[in-house]
């Protein structure tokens, strides 16, 4: 009995119908938290005495960076579930997670560069964290490219799942290597403000934003997966009935 929900997940239709009810909740919660966190962070949090207002970009940058890494694990683990239990839904989640993760990684790279310009005086620095992020971005792009290269959906799923898993094993090694590489070549003039000393009045809006980003990620993943379900099941009767009903109501 306890595992029934897991077996039900094997049916994209069941998931599609169930998840319709989750969307309004997720949407309202994530957008409310995003608004609350960003207004708090951008308007009411105190100004940093060294960096002025430019530090405020952390309210976008840090949550995006958190999720770009977490998103890789979401992608790889759902890929593994798809490989092991041959679950169609997991394959669709993996494909959606790859695109969303790549976008978030790009956002964190761009916001990092925007922050770097006033703070360091340059758009790009070969810092350990930035370089690791860039490699992570490449890993995402590899999975997406492999997914696109195959004609057959089933082969594309399995091949990109294997690549995602190989990447997952490699991510800690890459991060540690890049960290080590950076300590060798560390330029003396550039330093991050250490995050552990952040004042609570700046930290709380950040926490709100992190939670908001997680919820927003879940929402984006859900919406993308649902459209992937409709696309891949477009020849089944229930999707066609759904399309007919949609035509009728408008």
């Amino acid at each position: 009995m306890g595992w029934q929900w897991f077996h039900r997940l094997g049916s994209p239709r069941w998931f599609y119908e169930k998840s319709s009810a989750w969307i309004p909740w997720l949407a309202v919660l994530s957008i409310a938290l995003l608004l609350w966190g960003s207004v708090w962070g951008l308007a009411f949090a105190p100004t940093d005495f060294k960096q002025g207002n430019s530090y405020r970009i952390i309210y976008i940058h840090v949550p995006a960076a958190f999720l770009s890494l977490a998103g890789y694990y979401v992608m790889a683990i759902s890929g593994a579930i798809g490989l092991i239990w041959k679950m169609k839904l997991a394959d669709m989640v993996m494909k959606s997670a790859a695109v969303i993760g790549a976008v978030l990684t790009f956002v964190s790279l761009v916001t990092g560069a925007v922050w770097g310009k006033p703070t360091w005086g340059t758009w790009w620095v070969w810092d350990a964290r930035i370089t690791s992020m860039l490699v992570l971005f490449f890993l995402y792009l590899g999975v997406i490219a492999l997914q696109e290269a195959y004609q057959q959906q089933d082969t594309a799923n399995k091949a990109s799942a294997i690549l995602a898993l190989v990447g997952m094993v490699n991510i800690p090694i890459i991060y540690k290597s890049v960290d080590w590489w950076y300590t060798l070549h560390q330029p003396a003039t550039i330093k991050f403000t250490s995050e552990s000393t952040i004042h609570p009045s700046m930290l709380y809006p950040l926490l709100v934003m992190v939670i908001a980003f997680y919820l927003f990620y879940a929402l984006a993943l859900l919406l993308r997966t649902r459209s992937e379900i409709l696309y891949r099941e477009r020849k089944t009767r229930w999707v066609q009935e759904l399309a007919e009903a949609g035509k009728g109501s408008h």
């Binding site: 490699v135 490219a145 195959y150 082969t155 490699n170 540690k176 290597s177």
Partner: protein, 244 residues
């Protein structure tokens, strides 16, 4: 259809006679691939020529100044050796896929892991090893400081083996694609980052007068890990590419 009947006869005979074990299978693949490589000697020279030509571009593009070249040499030699390995990887499983040998390997009674390991070993013997032996000569051309040569060879010896192993995953994933070459590079290059960092750093630190034993030990650890894990992933990927 007559071929299928003959196949059944063969399999009946195979049941009567004992199936060759794991190591005979490994050696058979190794010998076959080495023989094939030896019969196409011209192709074996290609990665080395690529290595030589790209290294020639460095002084032309940057500066023939000795001091500049000496500073760039460790990293340049490593980056170009990595690219040469990468370019030669596309052919790792391709001809076997096209003529059906790969399917035979998949249904062979010996574990696919060891078949892949044998093929990767041949790939390393015909690309990584020659590149490694060639590297000191190119080091002289880039005026790599004395004292760096031993570690250059040692780091490339360990490193290119890891590169061949990791790359075999990409080759297996893209073997069924008609234009797999560029995609192979895209998916494998990010995975090469750690090997490149420690390989180039080993040479740099020895040139600067520090010991390189730490970096070499880590390269050895990478090699050990990839021997265990990479053929597993490549074998899984081959099954998907062939059956998909």
């Amino acid at each position: 259809m007559s071929g299928r009947a003959a196949g059944i006869d063969d399999s009946l005979q195979a049941q009567a006679t004992p199936v060759p074990g794991l190591w005979p299978g490994f050696w058979a693949t190794l010998r076959r691939d080495l023989l094939l490589a030896f019969r196409h000697r011209g192709e074996m020279a290609n990665p080395i020529l690529f290595f030589l030509m790209v290294i020639t571009m460095v002084p032309l593009g940057i500066s023939p100044e000795k001091a500049v070249l000496a500073m760039l040499a460790p990293g340049m030699l490593w980056v170009v050796a990595l690219l040469a390995t990468l370019l030669s990887l596309d052919g790792l499983f391709r001809s076997d896929f096209e003529d059906g040998t790969l399917e035979q390997l998949l249904i062979a009674p010996q574990p696919l892991y060891f078949q892949v390991l044998a093929k990767v070993l041949v790939h390393w013997l015909t690309s990584g090893l020659p590149l490694t032996l060639m590297a000191p000569l190119l080091g002289v051309m880039l005026s790599l400081p004395e004292g760096g040569y031993g570690v250059l060879v040692l780091s490339l010896l360990l490193g290119t083996a890891s590169l061949s192993l990791i790359g075999s995953i990409g080759a297996a994933l893209t073997v069924a694609l008609r234009k797999g070459g560029l995609l192979l590079s895209l998916i494998i290059l990010p995975l090469y980052v750690p090997v490149l960092i420690f390989g180039a750093s080993a040479v740099t630190s020895v040139v600067e007068g520090f010991p390189a034993s730490g970096q070499l030990a880590i390269l050895g650890a990478f090699l050990a890990t990839s021997i265990v894990l990479a053929p597993l992933a490549a074998a899984g990927a081959l099954r998907i590419s062939v059956n998909g």
